[in-house]
Symmetry: C3
Subunit: 528 residues, 3 copies
C-alpha cells in the first residue's frame, strides 16, 4: 500500500517536473546524482591551458570547486544555529539578506493558501524539493525542511554541524542543484546544443560552458596581468555558480526576473543587450510601468496574467521556447554571440529556420505573425549588411599583414605571450599590446568585428533604433571602415615613398656621363 | 429649446477645448474632418525621393497609411467580441496590455467621483470625446462608449464588425485623433512653426513632420541597406502614429509622462537629451524621489500639486509654453536640433528673444528669474563657443577638399549613391562609406558637428555638467579639433613631400652644365 | 540648579554629537561659530588665479558667498509669511518641493512616537538643533522651531522679516551648518586629511576643498570660454553649498541616501563611479530589490535593519569608516582621484595599510574577510598593471616632445593661455586646443591617463567586470597604447624621411668633380 502511494506521488512529481520543463530528470529518481556526476565530468577545471596560468586568491571564489579552501583561521565544529548567530555579528549584511530571503522562512511558503498569490507555485516546488531530498536520503520520510541556512549550502543539506576549517564549501551549481534539481537540469541541458555547420563547439556559447570558454581562450590564459584577466571570470562563472543571477544571500527570483539581473554581464562594447533593451520600447515600458505595477513574484509562465506584464523582459523572451519557460537560454540561439559568414551563409538550413520560427512564436505573444516575421527578416538582413562591410575591411588588414606593411611590422612587433599566437586583428589584441603589436589599423579592425558588428546585431534584434544605426552599430562600423581605408591608402603610399628612388640620379648621371664621353672624345682627338 | 441646450453645451465644450490648449479646433464642430484632411494633405507618403527606394516589409508598420495591407491569411468578417476573444489567445500580451488600459474599462473613468483623484480630468475628457463622436455621427446622441476595443482603432470607431482581410488598418495619427481631437490638433499645430531667417523649413524640426524629414533626407533614400535605413524610421514615425510615446496596447498617459518614454529616440550620439536629463539634478531627483512618490496619473498642469513633482520631467518643460501644456513641443524651440551660425547670429531677433522669455518663465516655476536668465545666457554663450571651434575645423577640412589633398581623394573616392551628392564632411558620411570616401579627417569632422557640438548644446541646456564639459561636448569637440589640426598638418606635409623635388637636381645639373661650358670653351679655344 | 540641569543636558547633547561622529564639536558649545570662522578662513574665494578670470552671472549661484548680490528689482522688507505666500505663486515648484520637505513640517518629526519608525532618530536631532540654536541665541530657551521656511535659510534663522534687496542670501555650507552643526563639522573634517608622501595637498581631494581645487586649476582659470569652465563649477561647489546631494527645496535625506544622488558628478570619462556601481551586482540588487523594498528613511547606521538593505549603496560604503557613519568621505581614501606611481610605490606604508584594513572591515559587513582581502589585493594589482602601461606611453610622448618631433611642434604650436603652461600630454589639453597644441598623440595620452587609467581603477574597485576589462579600463588603455606606439613609429619614420638626404647628391657631385678634375688636367696639359 505504502509503495502504491509512493508510486502515485512519484508520478505526480514527475509530471510536474516534466511540465515545468525539467525534461532531463530520470524517471527513477536518480537524476540528481547522475546530473552532478556529469556536471563535474564536463567541468574543465583549469582547462587545456592550465600550465600557463595560476589562480590568484580572488579566483578561489569565481571557481570555488577547483580553488577554494576553507579558512584555517576558524577551526572547530559548529552547529547550525552557531553559524547563523555568529555570522549575524560577523557579516550582518549577509545575515540580513538571508533573513529577507525565502530560504530563511520556508513556513511562509508552506502556509500559502491563496492560489491567486503569484508565489503559490512555490508551495508545490517546496514539496517537490523535500521529496527529492528524501530520495537523496538527505531528509527523512515525512521530515520537513525548516529553513535553508548557512550550513545547508556551505556544508551539507540538513546537516547538524560542520567542521569550519575542513568541510566549509563555497556552493557551486551542484550545491544549488541538490534542492533545485529541475533548474539544474534545465541549465545543464544547454550543453546539448549542436550547431549544424560547427559554427561553435557543442554546447557553446552558453552559460553552461562559460567557464570553459573563459579558461580555454588563449589570450585569457596568456595574459601576464592575472588581476585583469579575472575581470572576465567575474561574468564567466555561471558554469560554476548560480549566484550570478540569484545574488547571495537572498537568492531572489524577484531579482532574477528583472532585466537588471542580466546587466552586470550583458552590457558594454561587445554584448550591449542591456542597454539595447532598456532604451527599446520594451525597456521603457518596463521602466515606466513595469517597475511599479508588475509583480515579479509571478513565475514567467504567469507573467502576463498574475504578473501583469505589459511588455517583455529579457527573461520573458530568452527563457522561453515554444511556449515553455526554462533555464536553458540557448534553444532559440541563431546568431548567438557574434555574426559570422558561417552563420549568414546557412540561415536557410532547417536548424536556423526552425529557430526563427520559434522566435516568431515568441514575438507573436504580443505582435502579429507578419510583424514578427518582418522584424526578424529586417534584423537578419541588417546584420548581413554589417558583415559585408566588416569582411571587406578584414581583407584590407589581412593583405597589409601578409605584405608586411603594417606600422612597425618589420621592426617592432613582439609576439604575444604563450599560448597565444600572432594574427592580424586578432581577439588577443583587445587585451594585450606591446610595441607595434597591434598596429593601429589592426586594433581598429579588432574593435570593428568584436564591438561594432556585434552591437549592430544586438541593437537591431532588440529593436533599439539608435543602438544599431547611429550611436552603436552601423555608423561606428562605417567610421572604422573609413579609418581602415584611409590607413590602407597611406600605409601603401608610405611604402612606395620609402623605396629608394634611383630615378632621381638619372639626370646627374647622364650629364656626368655625357661630360665624360665628350671629354674622352676630346682627349682622343687631341692625340696627335 | 433643444437647439438652445445644444448651443449651450456646444459652448461649454468649446471653452473646455480651448482651455485645454485645443486652440485649432473649429467652432462648428467640423474640426476633426478638416484636421484629418489637412493631415493627409501634408503627409509626404514616400516623399520627393520616392523613386530611389522601395519599402521593405517592416516599413509597413512604420508608415501603415502608405504601406500596410490587411493579411489575406485571415479572411472573413469578425464581430467586435470575436476580435478580443481571438486575440486573447493569439496575442495574449497585446490583449493583457489592453486589458490593463483605460480603453478597456471606460466605466472606471465615468464613475470617478472624487475631484481630488488625479485622473478626475479624464471624466470630462470622456464626455468631450463622446460628444465629438456624436458630431462625427460615430455615436448616437446619448449613446455611451462602453470600451475602446480592437475594432475601434483597427477598423472604425463603434463598428460592429470588420472584414479582417480587407478593412483592417494599422492606426495612424488620424485614427487616434478621431477621439482625441484636441491632442491631434495640438500635435499638428507644430507644422505652423516658421523660422525668422529660414534656419529650418516651415514646421521643421518637429514630431509633426519627422517622417517627411526622414524620407526626404537624401542619404536615407540613397542607402542600399534598407534594413539599416529603417532604423531611422523606428523613431521618425511620430508623424504617422501616436504609439511612439503611448505604447500599444496600454496607450498609457502614466507611461508617456515619464522621461523614459522619450528615451528610445532622444538618446545617443546626436541627441542625448535623455542621458543629460537623467544625470542632471532634475533627473536624479526624479529617480530618487519621483519614481516612488510622484503621481503620474496627474495631468501636467497639476504636476506640482496632485502630482507632487519636486523636480521637472522632460514633459513638464517641453510640453509647456507660457503656462499652458499641449502636444505642441516646439513653441519654445530656439537652437532646435543642432547649433548653427544661422541661429547664433540671430539670437537678438525678437523671435528668439520671445522664446527665451518663455523659457525664463518655464524655469521660473522653480528658480528665480535671475537664475534662469543667467543659466540660459551661459548655455547660449557656451554653445556659441562650441560653434566657433567647429567652424574653424570646418574650414580646414573644406580647404583640403578644395585643394584635393584628402587621403585618396584623387585615386579612390567613389561617389555616394543617388540622390546623395558628394561633399566634404557631409552628413551622408555618417551612414555611407566606400573606398576613401569619407577620408578619415572628414569623418572626424562629421562626428564633430553632428555629435560633439550637439551634445555640448544639449548638455549645457539640460544642466548636466559632465554632459557638456568633459565626457560629452567640449572635451570631445577639442579632441576632434586636435585630430583635424594634426591631420591637416600631416596631409599638407605629405603633399609637399610627394611633389617631385626638382631642387635636388640643381647641384648636379649646375656641375654638369659647368663641365659642358668649360668643355665647349676648350673645344673652341682648340680651334686653330 | 538650573545650571546643573543645563550641564546635564549639555553632557547628553555632547555624547549624542560625539556618538554620531561629530568629533570636532567643541565641548563649550562654541563649536559652530568656530567652525564657521574656520570655514570662511579656509575658503579661497576666487583663489590664487583670481586676476585671470571674472565670474559670469551663473557663477553667482555656484559660489554665492563670493559673488551673489540680492536682486534690486524686489525692494522692501518682507515678513516670514509673505516670503512663502509670494513664492507659492512666483516659484510654485520651489514652494511645493519645500512643502513636501521635513523643513515645512517639523511637527511631524516632533510627534514621532514609534521608536521603530526609521525616522525616529530625527526627533532627537531636532531637539539637538533647537538646543544648539538656543546656545547661538537664535532661539529662546524653551522656544520651538515651528518650521524652517524661506527666511531661515535665505535670511537668518528664526528671523521675522528680511530686506529682500539688501539681506537676501543664497545659503552656503555655514548657513546649513547653523542648524546641522554635526554634519557641518563632519564634512569640514575632510580638510584634515594628510597624505604620507604628499601625494596630494592637505585636505585634497575631498568635497571640503573642491571649489579650491577648481579655481586653482590653471587651465580652469585660463580658459577664455567661461561658460564652459562653469561646467566644472556645477560639481565643484560642494565646498560652497550642501544642495549638491540634498537638492533644494526638499533637502531630502531619502534622496541623498540613494546612489543617483551621487550620479550628477560621479559619472563619465574621468570618474565613472556611478556607472560602475549600477552595473555591479551591488547596483543591480539595488535596482531590482532596493528601489522597491528598502527604506531610505532609515539612517545609514540602521541600513541593514530598519532599512532592510540587502546590498550596499554608494553611501553605505563611503560614509562609513570603522563602523561609524559620517559626512567625512575620505577616511578610507587610498588611490583617491587617480592612480599614480606615488601611491603605487607606497602601498605598504602604514597609512595605506591601515586604510586598507578599514576597507576590509567595510566589505566584511557582507563578505568574508578573506574574500574582501582577495578582492582588494586584485584591485590594487590590477590598478598597478594599468599604471605600468600608462607610464610606458608617457615616456614615449615625453621623448617625442623633448626631441621636438610632435606634429607641428616647430611650426604651429601656440602656447596655452596664462596661467597655464605648456607640457606634453598635459591636463589642460583636455579642455584647450589651438593649432597643433595638443598634437594627436598627446591628446591620446591625456585621455589615457585621465580617462582610461582612472576608469580601470574605478571599475576594478567597484567590482564591475566590463568596467575595467573590456568596455572601460584595460582594453581602451591598450587601444590608446597601440595608437601611441603606432604614432611614435610613424613620427620617427617621418622625421627620418624629412631630413634632407645629402647622400643623394654624392654620385652626381663625384661625377661632376671627376669631370672637372679631368678637364683641369686637360687644360694644364694643353699649356704649351
Amino acid at each position: 500500500m505504502k509503495s502504491l502511494i509512493q508510486f502515485a506521488l512519484h508520478t505526480v512529481f514527475l509530471c510536474l517536473l516534466l511540465s515545468s520543463g525539467f525534461a532531463n530528470a530520470d524517471e527513477d529518481g536518480t537524476s540528481f546524482p547522475k546530473l552532478r556526476e556529469q556536471y563535474y565530468r564536463d567541468h574543465p577545471g583549469k582547462g587545456k591551458f592550465a600550465q600557463h596560468w595560476d589562480a590568484i586568491p580572488i579566483q578561489n571564489y569565481w571557481n570555488p570547486k577547483n580553488f577554494y579552501k576553507p579558512p584555517v583561521s576558524v577551526p572547530g565544529e559548529f552547529k547550525r544555529e552557531m553559524c547563523v548567530s555568529c555570522h549575524q555579528s560577523l557579516t550582518p549584511g549577509a545575515y540580513h539578506a538571508w533573513k529577507e530571503s525565502t530560504h530563511s522562512n520556508l513556513e511562509a511558503i508552506r502556509s500559502l493558501s491563496d492560489p491567486n498569490d503569484p508565489r503559490y507555485y512555490k508551495k508545490q516546488k517546496l514539496a517537490d524539493i523535500e521529496r527529492n531530498l528524501v530520495q537523496q536520503s538527505l531528509l527523512k520520510e515525512g521530515e520537513k525542511l525548516t529553513e535553508v541556512g548557512c550550513i545547508d549550502c556551505h556544508g551539507k543539506v540538513n546537516a547538524e554541524s560542520i567542521e569550519h576549517d575542513k568541510a566549509l564549501v563555497m556552493p557551486d551549481r551542484a550545491s544549488c542543484g541538490t534542492c533545485h534539481v529541475g533548474e539544474f537540469a534545465e541549465a545543464e541541458s544547454e550543453k546539448e546544443q549542436e550547431w549544424p555547420q560547427k559554427q561553435w563547439d557543442k554546447g557553446h556559447p552558453s552559460h553552461a560552458v562559460d567557464w570553459k570558454a573563459n579558461v580555454e581562450t588563449s589570450i585569457w590564459a596568456a595574459m601576464p596581468e592575472r588581476e585583469i584577466a579575472q575581470g572576465c571570470d567575474q561574468c564567466h562563472y555561471q558554469q560554476n555558480k548560480c549566484d550570478g543571477c540569484h545574488t547571495r544571500h537572498t537568492f531572489s527570483v524577484v531579482e532574477a526576473r528583472q532585466p537588471e539581473a542580466c546587466a552586470t554581464c550583458h552590457n558594454g562594447v561587445d554584448h550591449n543587450e542591456f542597454e539595447n533593451y532598456m532604451t527599446s520600447k520594451h525597456g521603457t515600458v518596463y521602466q515606466t510601468l513595469g517597475k511599479k505595477n508588475w509583480d515579479f513574484e509571478a513565475p514567467l509562465k504567469d507573467a502576463l496574467t498574475k504578473g501583469k506584464y505589459t511588455a517583455p523582459t529579457c527573461q520573458y523572451c530568452h527563457f522561453e521556447a515554444d511556449g515553455q519557460f526554462s533555464h536553458n537560454l540557448v534553444k532559440k540561439a541563431r546568431w548567438a554571440f557574434n555574426p559570422t559568414t558561417a552563420i549568414a551563409d546557412n540561415l536557410k538550413h532547417p536548424w536556423f529556420e526552425e529557430r526563427k520560427e520559434l522566435w516568431v512564436k515568441t514575438c507573436s505573444n504580443c505582435h502579429s505573425k507578419t510583424f514578427a516575421e518582418s522584424a526578424l527578416e529586417a534584423a537578419d538582413k541588417g546584420t548581413i549588411a554589417g558583415i559585408k562591410v566588416e569582411q571587406e575591411a578584414k581583407k584590407v588588414v589581412q593583405d597589409l599583414f601578409n605584405e608586411g606593411l603594417l606600422t612597425g611590422q618589420k621592426t617592432n612587433r613582439p609576439q604575444p605571450p604563450t599560448p597565444e599566437k600572432d594574427a592580424a586583428g586578432g581577439f588577443f589584441q583587445l587585451f594585450w599590446s606591446k610595441g607595434n603589436n597591434p598596429s593601429r589599423i589592426e586594433r581598429i579592425y579588432a574593435d570593428m568585428w568584436e564591438h561594432d558588428l556585434i552591437k549592430l546585431y544586438k541593437g537591431i534584434f532588440h529593436n533599439n533604433p539608435g543602438g544599431f544605426t547611429y550611436t552603436e552599430g552601423w555608423s561606428p562600423l562605417l567610421r572604422d571602415y573609413a579609418e581602415i581605408m584611409d590607413e590602407n591608402t597611406r600605409l601603401r603610399d608610405e611604402a612606395k615613398q620609402a623605396k629608394p628612388d634611383y630615378q632621381q640620379y638619372i639626370p646627374a648621371v647622364l650629364i656626368g656621363l655625357g661630360g665624360l664621353l665628350i671629354l674622352g672624345y676630346v682627349l682622343i682627338r687631341r692625340r696627335p
